[in-house]
């Protein structure tokens, strides 16, 4: 299982890498989450890794936010539904 609690002194950069997205997605137990946080305070490189990954993840929904449904597609669906009896 991915979420195996570890002692802080055993927690190294490779462990931080394994837990990267589980941590950012809030999927870790308190013990493992604390181990990650402790490591990030002590390791500037891993802290940068996490910061970069978090920033990229935050930008993904923004990148797709302006996608619109074309009026033609909406009308096409309504037409198909009305053929089925939809009264809206």
């Amino acid at each position: 299982m991915m979420d195996t609690p570890m002692m802080p002194h055993e927690f190294e950069c490779e462990d931080a890498a394994r837990q990267l997205y589980d941590f950012l997605d809030g999927r870790l137990t308190d013990a493992t989450g604390t181990s990650v946080e402790t490591h990030l305070h002590a390791c500037a490189e891993c802290a940068k890794h996490y910061h970069f990954a978090r920033e990229v993840l935050a930008r993904i929904p923004l990148a797709l936010a302006d996608e619109q449904v074309s009026p033609a597609l909406r009308e096409r669906i309504l037409t198909a539904l009305r053929a089925e009896g939809f009264s809206g």
Binding site: M2, V56, I60, R74, F86
Partner: protein, 197 residues
């Protein structure tokens, strides 16, 4: 236009309101926009016919995503079975991701996010992902589905959702790095070429 029946008014409120999300999810599965539109239309027809089976108060988006996924898979059942998921190993992916991020940081991509609009690069990178990774990333990272919800919609184990996300996100970060390198914004690690930006 006549007043909608109570049934259709409820359908309109719960289901038609989710149209932008269904379109986005359909496009995450089908690169071809015309095919995505076909999936959306078929999804809505199936939803309308099965509206009586929808539990009031349930998550309409999740229901529609599941229908859309089934429509998509039925249309390409053979291809779906042939997808190679041998790389769905989360631990391996996490280590690969570490390497990729380390390379990117060494070459200055960390500053990229603050210096340019990365939205076009993210959209291109998502479009370039294999379907299994793209649809998982869109469900979780765009639509906000939990791992469990994504697993149910996609019909795969939660562990596979996790490993596909790892790979999708890694590929996305690699694409951003390539974008930055090609734009001369970060140093080319292979040649030592200096950044322009």
């Amino acid at each position: 236009m006549s007043t909608p029946t109570p049934r259709d008014a409820a359908f309109d409120e719960a289901v038609l309101a989710a149209l932008p999300h269904v379109v986005r999810f359909a496009r995450s599965m089908a690169r071809d926009e015309a095919l995505a539109d076909d999936i959306v239309q078929e999804t809505y027809l199936r939803a309308y016919r099965a509206w009586e089976t929808f539990r009031p108060g349930a998550d309409a988006r999740r229901w529609l995503f599941t229908i859309a996924r089934n429509v998509f898979l039925r249309g390409r059942e053979r291809e779906a079975r042939a997808v190679d998921t041998s790389g769905d190993d989360a631990e391996l992916e996490s280590l690969a991701a570490t390497s990729g991020i380390a390379d990117a940081q060494r070459d200055g991509i960390d500053a990229l996010l603050d210096r340019i609009d990365v939205a076009p690069a993210i959209r291109r990178a998502l479009e370039a992902l294999p379907e299994v990774y793209r649809s998982t990333a869109v469900l979780v990272d765009v639509e906000g589905a939990s791992y469990d919800e994504a697993a149910e919609i996609l019909g795969i184990p939660v562990g596979t959702v996790r490993s596909r996300l790892f790979r999708a996100r890694r590929l996305l970060q690699e694409s951003l790095f390539t974008y930055a390198r090609d734009a001369g914004i970060v140093r080319d690690a292979g040649t030592g070429r200096e950044a322009n930006g």
